[in-house]
């Protein structure tokens, strides 16, 4: 053990003797480990953010829509549209879905006294606010009664307020959506960026009846029906129930495929989780290539070092070092180089994460397992790429090594 410590000291001395070279050798590992930590953490951060926003929508959410298929890059509706008949039927018969709301969406221009902007107008019923758990900042939501009577009321998001009523209270004011005047009754609480990167506050919400009557001029199908299950535990029940009710009312024979699709919040989370997970693995893999390149750098320098120090190795062998002593010394040198590089890389990665957070407000939690991966990988690189040069050093013939010029 004491001898091992001495050999460790010898290895450290020779790293210290060539400080500039050692640092440059480590640079590959520093960047590699830093990159691994930063990419994995960024992936984790993205996953976290997406998941947060999706669960912010309400984890009990179900979305019922007409079955669509991708054809030549366009979503083509396959079945009959989900409509008022479906909605009424579900509202009447459903046990597990206490809240249901139709949703019709239209891209439109919203014009206010101080400006205008293109936005998406959502036509919904009162339950929408409950299902999506959106809260009011100023004023109030429109009521169930307002929906029934198709009042020209709307609730707007913060982004719309900024454009149309900069620095003002919009409640009670009028905006025009495609030439139809609406009275703003409420301002939604700010929610920021959504799971898919969309602005959750770039939104105008109005009674679906009003949108259908005034903007569409017809009462055909809805884009989808939003529903919330009784509780998180009953999402599956709700999905089964909705499927059975809709199959019955659409008169789909047993064995035939559904002409509608039901997506739950949990499925949405799983899908996005999978996507970001794959992304993280991919980015991590790319980053670990730089670690391997760093390892090759270490091997390269160690090989140069062995050649350069042939005489030293010969001397050590002559005064009684065993092959294993030389092997240990050079292996330790390589491992110390890559571990110190790994530690510096961890620091570099954590600082990098903080800088990105400060600069972009994109929170990156430094994943503990990314540190372990980075550190473990750098140790592995040290052993793997240090062994070959160390073996070469240990196998030198002492007589030839002593004569080496």
């Amino acid at each position: 053990m004491k001898r091992f410590l001495k050999i460790f000291k010898v290895a450290f001395q020779s790293i210290n003797k060539n400080r500039t070279r050692s640092l440059l050798t480590m640079l590959g590992i520093i960047i590699g480990v830093g990159a691994v930590i930063m990419t994995i953490s960024a992936g984790e951060g993205a996953t976290l953010q997406v998941q947060n926003q999706i669960s912010g929508l309400g984890t009990n959410l179900l979305m019922i829509q007409t079955k669509s298929e991708h054809k030549a890059g366009i979503n083509v509706r396959m079945g009959r549209p989900i409509d008022k008949k479906d909605f009424d039927m579900l509202q009447k018969n459903s046990v597990w879905m206490p809240q249901l709301s139709p949703l019709v969406a239209i891209g439109a221009q919203a014009i206010g006294p101080n400006g205008y902007m293109s936005t998406t107008v959502y036509g919904v019923s009162y339950d929408y606010f409950y299902i999506t758990s959106r809260e009011i900042e100023l004023g109030s939501f429109f009521t169930e009664e307002d929906v029934k009577t198709a009042k020209k009321y709307c609730v707007i998001g913060e982004t719309i307020r900024e454009e149309l009523f900069p620095g003002q209270d919009p409640v009670g004011r009028q905006i025009r959506i495609d030439k139809v005047p609406f009275t703003v009754v409420g301002l939604l609480k700010e929610e920021g960026t959504g799971g898919m990167g969309q602005d959750m506050d770039d939104i105008v919400v109005a009674p679906y009846t009003t949108i259908q009557n005034r903007l569409f001029g017809h009462q055909r199908g809805y884009n989808l029906i939003m529903a919330s299950a009784l509780s998180e535990d009953h999402i599956a029940d709700a999905k089964i129930e909705a499927t059975e009710l809709l199959r019955e009312s659409h008169k789909i024979k047993a064995g035939d495929e559904d002409d509608f699709e039901i997506t739950t919040q949990i499925e949405l989370q799983e899908i996005t989780g999978n996507i970001t997970g794959i992304l993280t693995i991919l980015l991590g893999a790319v980053a670990s290539i730089s670690l391997i390149v760093g390892g090759i750098g270490i091997m390269n320098i160690m090989l140069v070092s062995v050649t350069e120090r042939t005489r030293e190795i010969g001397t050590r062998l002559a005064i009684g070092a065993r092959e294993s002593d030389i092997l240990t010394q050079f292996l330790i040198e390589a491992i110390v180089l890559s571990l110190v590089g790994g530690l510096l890389g961890i620091v570099f990665g954590i600082i990098g994460n903080q800088i990105i957070y400060k600069a972009t407000d994109f929170f990156i939690p430094t994943a503990v397992y990314s540190i372990l991966i980075g550190f473990g990988f750098s140790a592995l690189v040290g052993v793997a790429f240090g062994y070959f040069p160390a073996r070469k050093a240990a196998k030198l013939n002492p007589i030839d090594a002593l004569r080496y010029e």
Binding site: R3, K6, I7, V10, Q13, K17, R311, E312, G314, T315, R316, L317, A318, I319, G320, A321, R322, E323, S324, D325, P398, I399, L402
Partner: protein, 249 residues
């Protein structure tokens, strides 16, 4: 009372095979060197003196013949045991010193003790200091090797050879890289160490340095052609005086 044999070789031969060609580097070398001797081995290049030194130094093994070093039958040892014998019984001194650069004299001298497996040396620093005192470098302990002159570097190397108290000090052209004055100093240091009981074998091709030894072995074509006691040993004063004589063509 007969002295202890440090080196004993019987019919020592070393043949190098290079494809079809066989080179007989050493042929039937019989040699006994006893404790307290100071032997100079001389010979032209190609005479086999380096090969002999490598075998005596346990860096190489004979093709045939027997070699005993301080009662150890070297022929039978494996690689690791050979390394241990080199560590415990031999102190090497090289022509080009072979010190670690940018490392202090003390750390260089400590080096053989790092590889010791017997655990007999507890205070390596003290031992290294003592060895450096013996070669007259007490005031240069913490100097780095590149801050020392050639003669001083060779002294550090000698201290390194002394530090583990070996049975045999083996010097390979120890003055080959030094100026005449420094060469004489080193040769004189060997005489002093020998007077304290150290057994020294030195390879050299400089007759005036060999003249400091007690006994001279002359090799030619891998055989010992002469082995005699030196009657008129050189001294430091004599050699320095010789230096001042004008060279006559």
């Amino acid at each position: 009372m007969p002295s202890k044999k440090v080196i004993e070789t019987k019919k020592l031969s070393r043949i190098f095979k290079n494809g079809e060609i066989e080179v007989h580097a050493l042929t039937d070398v019989d040699m006994v060197i006893e404790e307290g001797e100071f032997v100079a081995i001389m010979g032209a290049s190609g005479s086999g003196k380096s090969t002999l030194l490598h075998i005596i130094g346990c860096l190489d093994r004979p093709t045939s013949g027997e070699y005993n070093l301080d009662d150890v039958r070297v022929n039978e040892l494996d690689k690791n045991k050979l390394a241990d014998v080199r560590n415990q019984k031999i102190g090497f001194i090289f022509q080009s010193y072979n010190l670690l650069s940018r490392t202090t004299a003390l750390e260089n001298v400590e080096l053989p003790l790092i590889y010791d497996r017997t655990g007999q040396f507890s205070n390596t620093k003290e031992l290294a200091k003592k060895a450096l005192e013996q070669v007259g470098l007490a005031d240069r302990i913490y100097h780095k090797t590149n801050e020392l002159s050639g003669g001083q570097q060779q002294r550090v190397a000698i201290a390194r050879a002394l530090v583990n108290n070996p049975a045999l000090i083996l010097a390979d052209e120890p003055t080959g890289n030094l100026d005449s004055k420094s060469s004489i100093d080193i040769a004189d240091l060997f005489v002093q160490l020998n007077n304290k009981g150290k057994t020294i074998v030195m390879i050299t091709h400089e007759p005036e340095i060999a003249q400091f030894a007690k006994r001279m072995i002359y090799l030619r074509d891998g055989r010992i052609i002469s082995d005699k006691i030196i009657e008129d040993r050189s001294t430091k004063e004599f050699a320095l005086k010789e230096l001042e004589k004008p060279v006559t063509p």
